[in-house]
Symmetry: C2
C-alpha cells in the first residue's frame, strides 16, 4: 500500500479504533485457486492475534494451508473530497479532487482449529463483544440456545487464529492541508453525509506535510 | 469467496448499485513483494472495464505487471445481526449471531496508461461522476484549475484500466430467514445505526432458502 509520510498512521490507539469500529475484515490469500478474499468479523487481541471462525462449507480453510500468510484488511469510513470544499480553491484554484479513508493492513499466518474448545472460545469472544455493543446487559449468550442446537451450529464451523507479524496503517484525512482548507474539507464531508469520516478528520489536525 | 446459493447476487442492477454506492475499491494483487492492496475509487463502465488512476509514487504500477490479474473488491454497508433481533428467537431460541453485508469481487487484468490523453480521461470521468453527486451543476471541472497546475498534477499520476473477466457477488441480507425474522432483522439493524443496510435488506425479501 502506498503511504506518503503524512498519511502514515502509527498511533496504536487509532489503529485499534479503526479495527473496533469496522471489525468485518477482508481476509485475502494467494492460493492454488488464485487470489481469494472472504469477509469475516475478527477480534483483535492485545497480543497481536486475531480470532475468528468460518463455515465448514467455506473452502477457505481448505484453500489456505495452516501457516500460510494472509493479508487482513480493516477499513473505516471513506468519502470523496471535492476541490470546492477548500476555501483556498476560490483564491488560487490549485486543488484537485481526492478520496479520504482509513485502512489497516495486517499480515499474519493463519492456523485452523477444529476442536470444540477453540470453536466455543471464538464464538463466545466475538459474541460477547458485539452483544455488549448492541444489547448491553441484555445481550444474547450461547447458553441462551438449546445445547443440541449449539452443538449442531458449532459442528458447522472452523475456528482460526491469525498471528500478525506486520501492520501498515493509513489515515488519509486531509491532514496535509492548511488549517482553513482542512476545516473546509471536514465541513464538506459532514455536509455530504460523511459525519463519521469528518469526526476522524477532526482528530487528525492540519498542516502535516510529512517528509 | 464462500457464497451459499441463497446469498448469491446475480442481479446486474444490484451489483452496479453496490459499486455505485461504494466506489472506493480495494485492488489486490500477488506480486514479487507479496500480497499487496491499494484503495482507489474506480469507475465501472457498462462494457466491464474499470477505470482509475494512481499516484506515480505508488509502487503498485511497478509491482503489478501489465496484463497481470488483480482482484477488485467493492463492499457496501455491513452490520452485526443479533439473535435478539429475530422474534422467532423468543419462541425456539434456535438462532445464532451473524453478520450482514454486500460485496462484489471482480477479477480482471490491469493495463497501465502513461499518456496524457488517458490520464485526462480517467480524471475527467471520475471527477464528473463524483462532482455531480456532491455539487450538482456547480461541480468542479478540470478546466477550473490553471493549466500549468493541472499539467503538473497529471504528470504525477498513472491511469489504468482493468478488463474484468469474472465477477462474484454476495448479498448476505437475511433473505434466508422467514418473513417475521427477516422483518425483525431489518428493524434491529435500523435501530443500531445501520439504516443503509436495513434498506438493502428490504430489497432482498425473506424465505430464500436456495439450494
Amino acid at each position: 500500500m502506498y503511504i506518503p509520510a503524512h498519511f502514515k498512521e502509527i498511533d496504536p490507539g487509532e489503529i485499534a479504533a479503526v479495527i473496533a469500529a469496522a471489525p468485518l475484515a477482508t481476509i485475502v490469500a494467494q492460493t492454488g485457486d488464485g487470489l481469494i478474499a472472504n469477509h469475516l468479523p475478527l477480534l483483535a487481541t492485545p497480543d497481536g492475534t486475531m480470532i475468528g471462525h468460518v463455515a465448514l462449507a467455506n473452502d477457505m480453510h481448505r484453500q489456505i494451508a495452516a501457516g500460510a500468510e494472509v493479508l487482513v484488511i480493516f477499513r473505516g469510513d471513506d468519502g470523496y473530497v471535492s476541490p470546492n470544499f477548500y476555501p483556498g480553491k476560490a483564491i488560487h484554484h490549485r486543488h484537485v479532487p481526492t478520496w479520504n479513508y482509513q485502512v489497516v493492513h495486517s499480515y499474519g499466518t493463519i492456523s485452523w482449529q477444529h476442536d470444540d474448545h477453540a470453536k466455543r472460545a471464538a464464538v463466545g469472544l466475538l459474541t460477547r463483544l458485539h452483544e455488549r455493543r448492541v444489547n448491553g446487559a441484555q445481550g444474547w449468550r450461547m447458553a441462551d440456545a438449546p445445547a443440541d442446537y449449539m452443538a449442531e451450529m458449532l459442528a458447522g464451523i472452523v475456528a482460526f487464529r491469525i498471528a500478525v507479524h506486520r501492520t501498515l496503517a493509513k489515515s488519509k484525512l486531509s491532514q496535509n492541508r492548511d488549517a482553513i482548507d482542512h476545516a473546509g474539507a471536514v465541513a464538506g464531508l459532514a455536509q455530504t453525509g460523511k459525519a463519521g469520516l469528518a469526526e476522524r478528520m477532526r482528530g487528525h489536525g492540519p498542516g502535516r506535510k510529512g517528509g
